[in-house]
């Protein structure tokens, strides 16, 4: 435990929080441009700091922030793996800085990267065509829903108004289906944490547009019945949608296309190590089977017979899901990562992700009720409150797992170490978990005590929302 005596982000003795920019001198500037008065505002009031002070402001703030370069980040389902730095250099190449309205001829390099990334993702997912336009995973889900809707509209009149989502699915699945105007049918999981075929049979019907599924699911369990599931959904006339959040467990061992999925999205952050940036930008490419390729968003990238790359509108395109072409720099990083790892590296990433999860689980004192799991597992905090466990783990210098979700496991600790942690780190992480498991209620309730901020009053924040410095006294 020596290793975690001093939490990494603890402020030095006596250090206070960083002042807000607005707590420095504010400058009020009168606007006097070469425009008529009635077209302009009167004043702008903003903080005024010179660059040296600003540099320190932001560096100090960075020091009050925990990233995966700071230490392990076993946030289940969020997949915080190491982000190779060379991909930043790739995305920052001067030739990558292009405007989206350039002509195709002036854009051959960008289109080449996009074409090759579409191709790589198709091979990895077992999909026939891939769009890169959705700017995040949830946007990918919505794109998939739009494609499903357009497909049903074209093939059987668009009466289907239901999307089935397992109860343990990501909240975005429900919200994306609802955004598309669908009624969401929540599918209760079986006792083994997997899809219950009887419940699925009961949920399917002539109104079923799609079933959205994550595999391995959020408990890390592979849906072994995926073949019969696909058959049942297809027999009912529905489409099978793959939420790619957990594809990082399967690289080189199984492909959604081979399992019978018709549509899928990739989370490039989770699977291809693009940095999450504290909440984006992400990218959520969507892959589809041949039958659905004509519905992909506009425009799509393809290579002409002459070898040039071109943008074209698929014949029955759903249109656009982003004003331009999505989050391009993120796509460059994903391409660079895949290209570097290749077949052997990608397969090894999944293998080590699964090994690391299983090894860490083996070291823990907390019970893990459901298995066999792959890249993540859900332990139960038992009599402890999982949220308190998380706060206490901060005192041991590590980021805690996802807590209280999925609800199938009481006081869930959803843990995903990823392949990029070493055995030594996993041992230390296990020590932190086990130390907390042995801590008493008082220690848990009091935590965290070694962090920049002590436990934050969420209730006060919600009852009295103060959302800008204008709201502060």
């Amino acid at each position: 435990m020596e290793h975690y005596e001093q939490a990494r982000y603890a402020p030095a003795e006596g250090e206070t929080n960083e002042p807000l920019l607005s707590e420095n001198d504010q400058t009020t500037v009168s606007v006097d441009p070469s425009l008529p008065d009635d077209l302009t505002r009167d004043t702008v009031e903003l903080p005024s700091l010179e660059e040296p002070e600003l540099a320190r402001h932001y560096v100090r703030l960075s020091q009050q922030n925990y990233g995966v370069d700071s230490g392990p980040y076993p946030l289940g389902s969020c997949t915080m793996k190491y982000n190779p730095r060379f991909t930043e250099d790739a995305a920052a190449l001067p030739a990558a800085a292009v405007h989206p309205d350039r002509s195709e001829t002036a854009l051959q390099g960008t289109l080449a990267v996009m074409h090759d990334l579409q191709d790589y993702l198709g091979r990895i997912g077992g999909m026939d065509a891939v769009t890169l336009q959705p700017p995040a995973g949830a946007a990918g889900e919505f794109t998939g829903i739009l494609i499903a809707e357009a497909y049903h509209e074209a093939t059987d009149g668009g009466h289907r108004n239901e999307v089935i989502v397992p109860d343990a699915a990501h909240g975005t699945n429900f919200a994306s289906a609802a955004l598309g105007g669908y009624d969401v049918i929540e599918l209760p999981s079986g006792d083994d944490g997997r899809v219950d075929l009887d419940a699925l049979e009961a949920a399917l019907g002539e109104n079923t547009a799609a079933l959205m599924l994550t595999n391995p699911n959020t408990l890390g369990l592979f849906e072994r019945d995926i073949e019969p599931i696909a058959e049942m959904v297809h027999d009912a006339g529905g489409l099978l949608y793959y939420d790619g959040a957990n594809l990082n467990a399967l690289l080189g061992r199984a492909r959604p296309g081979d399992m019978g999925f018709d549509i899928m999205h990739f989370n490039v952050h989770k699977t291809f190590a693009t940095p999450h940036g504290g909440g984006g930008p992400g990218a959520g490419p969507v892959g589809v089977t041949d039958e659905l390729a004509g519905f992909l968003p506009d425009p799509h990238v393809r290579q002409s017979a002459g070898g040039d790359y071109e943008l074209y509108t698929p014949p029955r395109s759903i249109g656009k899901v982003h004003g331009f072409q999505g989050n391009w720099p993120v796509l460059v990083k994903a391409f660079a990562y895949i290209d570097r790892l290749g077949d052997s590296g990608l397969a090894d990433a999944s293998a080590k992700a699964v090994l690391n999860a299983n090894y860490l689980a083996d070291q823990l004192d907390y019970e893990i009720p459901l298995g066999p799991f792959h890249h993540e597992f859900v332990a139960s905090a038992g009599d402890q409150d999982a949220a308190d466990v998380a706060k206490r783990m901060l005192d041991y210098g590590v980021h805690p797992p996802t807590t209280k979700w999925p609800e199938l496991v009481a006081e869930a600790l959803m843990t995903e170490p990823t392949e990029t942690e070493s055995k030594r780190t996993l041992d230390d992480l296990a020590d932190a978990f086990n130390a907390v498991a042995g801590d008493d209620d008082a220690a848990l309730a009091d935590a965290p005590s070694r962090t920049t901020a002590r436990r934050i009053d969420q209730t006060a924040a919600a009852r009295n929302p103060r959302l800008s410095w204008h709201d502060l006294d």
Binding site: K404, Q458, T459, A462, R463
Partner: protein
């Protein structure tokens, strides 16, 4: 932990209570404890007509959202405006200052509600 379940009120399985004498409606002490700190309450307007088991509003804690259901049919005659600025009243006095609405109702509807013994058994 045992919760107060006043005998003079009627209840729904979904934890709303109604005072048969006044038509006043709220949520039970058990329900507010399950929810945790209430941070926001969304209620209907005076004059709204409700059917029994219609959605009456929403009560939110930090991490959960719960629908409220009308224990009886009728017209909303009063709304507890104090909850706008003090949603914590639902936690502090669920049977008192933390009431939600008052409904002008038909007493026949009460047959479909639980009495205090039944409700106590439900939350035991």
């Amino acid at each position: 932990m045992s919760f107060d379940v006043p005998d003079d009120l009627q209840y729904l399985e979904s934890h709303e209570w109604i005072d048969p004498a006044t038509g006043r409606v709220g949520i039970s002490e058990f329900a507010q404890d399950e929810l945790g700190d209430v941070v926001f309450v969304e209620l209907p307007s005076v004059g709204d007509a409700l059917d029994q088991h219609d959605e009456l509003g929403v009560v939110e804690s930090i991490k959960a959202v719960s629908d409220l259901y009308a224990p009886v049919s009728g017209e909303v005659t009063a709304v507890n405006d104090a909850l706008t600025n003090e949603p914590e009243l639902v936690n502090e006095a669920p049977f008192g200052d933390g009431w939600l609405v008052e409904i002008d109702f038909d007493s026949d509807d009460l047959e479909a509600t639980l009495d205090s013994d039944d409700y106590r058994a439900q939350i035991a």
